[in-house]
């Protein structure tokens, strides 16, 4: 579905990614974990056309989409939910949702989708006329996730969905992501809350110093002591050669 081949890139002259490679299959959740500064969010920006890519290729369903703009990536069926608060504060919940479909030609269809999406997030229907800034942090995150669904995406890049949310809301967001996966949507997620995220994921990916260090089934990563070591502040030792 999505394949990164030896991606190198960064901001201006500062290189962050030093050879990121992985493949993720369709209809799965893959969680990207790694220490601070590993390049997790930067990978998302590279995929979504927000970063200079110096070397490497990004393939989406076999098609080369390297250096495609955010608008082109949206047209390819990719949406991106960055970390932090990403609503348009003075617009209503409904109009924030509508912006999720701003690139669509058929706005009547977008309005239909908004109704369907609000069925999945009843709180957004209740507050549809409220300004986005008046929602709680958790409600704003739900709004962002809901907005990312407006164009019926095939791949969602979601960065740190649990930041600022209560444990209950985190479970709700994770449950939503699982439902989407079951409907065939592919999800690539960055999450500091590694254990909880890997628990709902099919695959896990460990980045360190801008490189792919591990890529395996989520349950294997959860059981791997090297992953625990990484999150205790160490770094992954190269596996001894047989």
């Amino acid at each position: 579905m999505l394949e990164l081949q030896d991606i190198h890139g960064g901001y201006g002259k500062i290189t962050i990614l030093n050879g990121v490679s992985f493949k993720i299959p369709k209809g799965t959740i893959t969680t990207v974990i790694g220490p601070n500064g590993a390049g997790k969010s930067t990978v998302f920006k590279a995929i979504f056309g927000l970063l200079n890519i110096d070397k490497g290729r990004i393939l989406l369903d076999g098609k080369d989409v390297t250096r495609h703009t955010p608008r082109q990536m949206i047209d390819h069926g990719v949406t991106y939910v960055p970390q932090g608060r990403n609503v348009v504060p003075q617009l209503s919940v409904y109009h924030n949702l509508e912006l999720g479909g701003v690139t669509a030609r058929d706005q009547a269809k977008v309005r239909e989708r908004i109704e369907k999406v609000m069925d999945k997030f009843p709180i957004l229907r209740e507050f549809r006329n409220r300004k986005a800034i008046e929602l709680s942090g958790g409600q704003q995150k739900q709004l962002e996730v809901a907005r990312s669904l407006l164009l019926d995406p095939k791949l969602i890049l979601i960065d740190e969905p649990s930041i600022g949310l209560s444990p209950k809301l985190v479970q709700e967001v994770f449950a939503t992501l699982q439902r989407l996966r079951d409907q065939g949507v592919t999800i690539l997620m960055v999450e500091q809350n590694a254990k909880s995220a890997l628990a709902i994921s099919d695959y896990g990916l460990v980045l360190e110093l801008g490189q792919t260090r591990m890529h395996d089934k989520a349950e294997k990563l959860l059981a791997d002591p090297r992953v625990g070591q990484l999150f205790l502040g160490g770094h992954i030792e190269e596996a001894p050669s047989a």
């Binding site: 979504f48 990403n86 348009v88 504060p89 509508e98 800034i133």
Partner: protein, 292 residues
């Protein structure tokens, strides 16, 4: 009572034109996070475009107005953004503010050199004969100025709030990073803000110059009063700019009629100091940030 109504309506008519210019300040602030201190000159210049059309090229007034509007949108909107804002904005808002001050001086002095320092008569677009409104005698020109200005503000507000492009402009102003990842063409939305600002300035020019005559220095007072109106109303809200403009227009007339006309130029400044002391975000402004 009829005198009060007369003063009120006349103040609203002038204030509504201030509001058009103040809204332009607000739009440019939203789009580029800077203050265009050449805004007053942006109002002064289109009147001279019209005079060139009617007096030098011999075009009829309607054609001259149309061409002046288009020229203003092109030069004071698109060219201003491309040649002044885009290259200087990366150096910071302060640099751009200084650049717009310089541009204001350039425009002022250029018009003075080209057309002279004397005030020029400007053809009225509407009849100036007095009409009776609930006992108050006001000029038809004032009433039409008021109605047209308010209609433009209503249309602009509807455009920003009810259309996809308008809401995309709001998204680009309030959270450009999010707007970009949603597929909004942020650069285009910013350009629209500059084009609308130029159109508003040109319209204000066409409405107010028949009253004040066309003079190279017209922009100084108008730019200052509109800037104050935008701050008084709330710099991050279009409705704030409207309220600020109307308030200054009405207070100016009321004070000049019932108190003294001697210090009327000081009134907007006194109002500005008062508002900054008691409500720094402006009458309608919000403290949470940018919003068109």
């Amino acid at each position: 009572m009829s005198q009060f109504l007369q003063v009120l309506l006349s103040g609203l008519a002038t204030g509504s034109i201030y509001a058009l210019v103040a809204i332009g300040f607000t739009l440019v602030w939203q789009a580029a996070q800077t203050v265009n201190f050449a805004q007053g000159e942006f109002v002064m210049v289109p009147a001279f475009f019209v005079l060139v059309g009617t007096n030098i090229l011999g075009f009829p007034l309607a054609l001259s107005l149309g061409l002046a509007l288009l020229l203003a949108i092109a030069l004071l909107g698109a060219v201003f953004k491309k040649l002044v804002v885009d290259p200087i904005l990366p150096s910071g808002g302060i640099s751009l503010i200084i650049a717009t001050m310089a541009l204001g001086i350039l425009l002022r002095e250029s018009v003075k050199e080209f057309y002279g320092a004397e005030a020029q008569p400007f053809p009225a677009m509407f009849p100036t004969n007095p009409i009776n409104v609930f006992g108050a005698v006001v000029s038809m020109q004032d009433m039409l100025n008021l109605l047209i200005s308010l209609a433009v503000v209503v249309v602009l507000t509807l455009f920003l709030n009810r259309t996809r492009t308008g809401r995309s402009m709001q998204a680009a102003a309030q959270n450009p990073a999010v707007a970009e990842i949603l597929g909004v063409n942020v650069k285009r939305m910013v350009m629209y803000a500059f084009l609308i600002n130029a159109a508003l300035a040109a319209l204000a020019s066409f409405l107010i110059t028949p009253v004040y005559l066309a003079k190279f220095s017209n922009g100084e007072t108008l730019g200052l009063v509109a800037f104050i109106a935008a701050i008084v109303g709330g710099f991050n809200q279009i409705r704030g700019a409207l309220v600020g403009g109307l308030l200054i227009g009405v207070l100016d007339n009321l004070v000049a009629t019932y108190v003294t006309a001697e210090y009327r130029a000081a009134l907007p400044l006194i109002l500005l100091i008062f508002i900054i002391l008691v409500r720094p975000q402006g009458i309608m402004g919000t403290s949470e940030g940018r919003a068109v």
